[in-house]
């Protein structure tokens, strides 16, 4: 059993590396494109929206941290919806298990986020003082976020294998979640009496954890507890789902 888990992790890491290699084949910048995209988004959206929302230069930092966390969630969930189909032909000689596609998705996006740290460093360097500390804090945070995101990737990848409608539904849902979450805006911009609606959104708490810790060096315990609780529920659900589908999924290809 232990050997099987180690083997699944080894396969997932390798497949994540080669997927990124293949994705950026013949590209000079390679995975740093994801860093450039993030950087461009921040420097284009930042000044315009800070004017629209009448914000100070802190807005750009809030936006950068929010977008960094959101991009990780977005990329993982988008990739999750076709993660099995992408490596379908690996299942023709051997059953490599049902964890490999979701793990591979998570690892490849961790690699991309690692590259995005470069643009985050530049943004912090331009708009704040202690850019190195902020980057050091971002690293464990992205692993914390991985713990929350993994069961969702696992469930989405399997449901997408069974029902092909999920891929389109996921894109629309993520588009809506983006606007409903405090990524380009912050919770403080909403009147206090109306904030309850935002607080039901788990993404709000993730963004809060990131912004508070990275930008203010404060730990938002309430948001951490909420995310840990949701993660625990998701892991229990994933385990039950795993038990239900572990012998069925191979017929869904």
């Amino acid at each position: 059993m232990f050997k099987k888990i180690i083997n699944s992790i080894k396969i997932s890491i390798w497949l994540a590396i080669v997927e990124i290699k293949a994705r950026y084949l013949r590209s000079i910048i390679g995975p740093f494109w994801s860093a450039i995209i993030l950087f461009v988004m921040v420097i284009v959206i930042g000044p315009i929206y800070s004017l629209i929302f009448n914000q100070t230069s802190d807005y750009i930092l809030n936006l950068a941290v929010g977008l960094f966390a959101w991009q990780f969630i977005l990329n993982n969930l988008t990739d999750a919806s076709f993660s099995f189909q992408k490596i379908e032909n690996l299942y023709q000689n051997k059953n490599i298990g049902l964890f490999v596609p979701s793990l591979k998705t998570l690892i490849s996006n961790l690699i991309l986020s690692g590259h995005q740290l470069v643009s985050m460093f530049i943004i912090f360097f331009i708009w704040s003082n202690d850019s190195l500390i902020k980057i050091i804090i971002l690293m464990p945070l992205i692993f914390f976020l991985s713990v929350f995101v993994y069961p969702i990737i696992f469930i989405v990848s399997l449901i997408s294998l069974r029902y092909r409608d999920i891929q389109s539904a996921m894109n629309s849902a993520l588009f809506m979640i983006f606007f409903l979450s405090p990524i380009i805006w912050s919770v403080e911009m909403i009147p206090e009496s109306k904030r309850f609606f935002v607080n039901y959104n788990p993404i709000t708490h993730i963004i809060n954890i990131f912004r508070e810790l990275v930008l203010n060096l404060r730990i938002d315990f309430l948001s951490i507890l909420i995310i840990l609780f949701i993660s625990a529920v998701l892991y229990i659900f994933s385990f039950l789902f795993y038990k239900k589908v572990k012998h069925k999924f191979i017929f869904w290809f």
Partner: protein, 228 residues
């Protein structure tokens, strides 16, 4: 040893409406998924030294039985017991990625088939040498001909001599020279493996390689010919 007791396999048909979520939501009367009975009451013990040939018409269940023996498909009822690591080659193209180099594909195939724990540079060189693809090692597979891809895949999958080998049809790949090489290597593997199972339509080949023949019809074993 591989042991199958009262094995049944019903293959669910998800190809039609069952695959769409909209049908699940908007169909008020839940539509049952149709199951094809592919294997019926299979009882089989494969012991050390067994060289088994599986014969039968198209659609009789040969490949499905191989998939069950490889652990690729779970059984609907009954039990299956494996003792050793099995190498199954049911699809020679499985695991190849056109956008990756020959070298990267070797590592992928080795990992997913769990062939060698620490595949090093020397192993990769040997695999490439056997496949006669040394000078193309960094080329993406999409620039390879189908014969070159088969040679690469064959060289990786047969690099390690497995204790149990399961083949769906005889593999002879490449041009005349390589075909001879591949047949020799396969013969070597078969003679060194403890268990060998092959499904084929070629009765002469099966008689030449196997000491036991299993005849399948409509998912049932209808005859076992032993001590050939």
């Amino acid at each position: 040893m591989i042991k199958l007791d009262n094995v049944f396999l019903n293959y669910p048909d998800y190809s039609n409406s069952g695959r769409y979520l909209r049908n699940l939501i908007f169909t008020f009367k839940k539509k049952k998924i149709y199951h094809f009975e592919i294997l019926k009451n299979i009882n089989l013990t494969i012991k050390k030294g067994d060289r088994i040939g599986i014969i039968g018409n198209n659609g009789s269940g040969k490949t499905t039985l191989l998939k069950v023996l490889s652990g690729l498909l779970p059984v609907t009822s009954g039990s299956i017991h494996f003792e050793d690591k099995i190498l199954s080659i049911l699809n020679i193209n499985s695991g190849l990625d056109d956008y990756l180099s020959a070298r990267d594909n070797i590592i992928t195939l080795n990992l997913i088939n769990n062939l060698k724990d620490n595949l090093d540079k020397y192993d990769i060189e040997k695999i490439l040498d056997f496949a006669e693809l040394k000078k193309y090692e960094n080329q993406p597979l999409k620039t390879f001909s189908s014969g070159m891809k088969l040679r690469l895949s064959f060289s990786v999958l047969t690099y390690i001599k497995p204790k149990c080998l399961i083949l769906d049809e005889w593999l002879s790949v490449g041009d005349t020279n390589f075909r001879e090489k591949s047949i020799n290597r396969l013969n070597e593997i078969i003679s060194s493996s403890e268990i060998f199972v092959i499904a084929s339509h070629d009765n002469d080949l099966i008689k030449r390689l196997c000491n036991k023949i299993i005849k399948i019809e409509n998912g049932k074993i209808i005859n076992i010919y032993e001590n050939l």
